[in-house]
């Protein structure tokens, strides 16, 4: 292959004519960055009905490789395979439940974004409710205690008189 420097020397030292010129042009063409030719997009879905059902299903399924994406969103190889599998099963007239069960059998409940209610998922389902009840309870207790404290702070007769005297003094001051 020509290096840039060699090519430069070649251009400077030789006449640009005949076969040599063609050879030069040929090598210059080789140095062009490779061109990406546009191509018509391959249709994603041969069957829009199947595709719609597949998308609805995969929206609620977790991609195990990129765990924060659904299989519908993920471009991972794993998700590609699962989508292909689901398309095939839809074409084979499997019900949605059968398809989801197929995946749960292989990958566990973890593929589901909607975990089923089971002893092991109780905390997941009811944890927030329990936390809410605890929060609400402590708020009520706090508010009750505060009310008692407010009621406790009532002024004695002497204090009231002093306060009144101070207020009056202030009024007089302002009038002057």
């Amino acid at each position: 292959m020509f290096k840039n420097h060699d090519l430069y020397c070649f251009v400077v030292s030789r006449q640009f004519n005949g076969i040599k010129g063609l050879v030069l042009i040929f090598f210059l063409l080789l140095m062009l960055p490779s061109v990406g030719w546009p191509k018509e997009a391959i249709p994603v879905a041969e069957d829009p009905v199947v595709e719609k059902r597949m998308l609805a299903l995969t929206m609620d399924l977790r991609c195990l490789v990129c765990q924060n994406e659904s299989i519908a969103d993920s471009r991972a190889e794993f998700s590609n395979d699962i989508r292909r599998e689901i398309r095939e099963q839809i074409k084979a007239n499997k019900t949605d439940q059968e398809i989801v069960q197929f995946l749960v059998d292989r990958y566990g409940d973890f593929v589901l974004y909607n975990p089923p209610m089971k002893p092991t998922t109780m905390l997941l389902w009811f944890g927030p409710v329990i936390l809410f009840v605890i929060g609400l309870g402590s708020l009520i207790i706090y508010l009750r205690r505060r009310r008692v404290q407010i009621e406790d702070v009532s002024l004695s007769q002497v204090q009231l008189e002093r306060a009144e005297a101070l207020l009056n003094e202030n009024k007089k001051g302002k009038n002057v």
Partner: protein
């Protein structure tokens, strides 16, 4: 006193949860296939593409199924261990070449050594889905009755071999 102890207690509980969370691996999804029959398959050999191997051929012996691919970087890490294990003669290892090119797979085995009794190919990852494969390498311990007893997700390590896999194999080999 209480008003200082309650937040402290809450903090300790939260810290304990977070600390446990740090030691967990979110990629380690427990397989629902443990203690279930290994999914049956019939696949072509890698070395002799016109020969078939069926999973039922291995009934009556304890065997390892190692899912690997030449594009998988972590497979290279575990490979010397697999070669050692195969040389020790403790257990036959069967390789499932997952979503790979035949020629590169063969080159890879030539370069890094071939620990597999038989290598079989799963070019489009269908058997992989049946086995719940989502991250190569994965290794399954399958007992004499064809039941999956253990699944190692990610590369096998000296630690996992010594403490889990080999003791389990020896235990399983004693069973009728």
């Amino acid at each position: 006193m209480m008003r200082y102890l309650i937040p402290l207690f809450a903090f300790i509980v939260l810290a304990a949860f977070l600390l446990v969370g740090l030691t967990l691996n979110p990629r380690q999804v427990p397989s629902p296939l443990i203690d279930k029959p290994a999914p049956i398959f019939q696949l072509n050999h890698l070395h002799e593409p016109d020969r078939l191997m069926a999973s039922k051929d291995n009934l009556g012996k304890v065997w390892l199924l190692n899912v690997w691919a030449s594009w998988c970087v972590a497979c290279r890490d575990e490979h010397p261990l697999l070669v050692q294990l195969a040389n020790s003669g403790i257990v036959p290892i069967y390789g499932l070449n997952y979503k790979d090119e035949r020629t590169t797979a063969l080159q890879w085995l030539k370069r890094y050594g071939d620990p597999y009794t038989i290598s079989i190919v799963d070019p489009d990852g269908r058997v992989g889905i049946d086995y719940g494969v989502y991250g190569v390498p994965e290794t399954y311990v399958i007992d004499k009755k064809g039941i999956i007893r253990h699944k190692q997700i990610g590369p096998v390590t000296v630690d996992s071999l010594q403490n889990t896999i080999i003791p389990l194999i020896i235990e399983l080999q004693k069973q009728a």
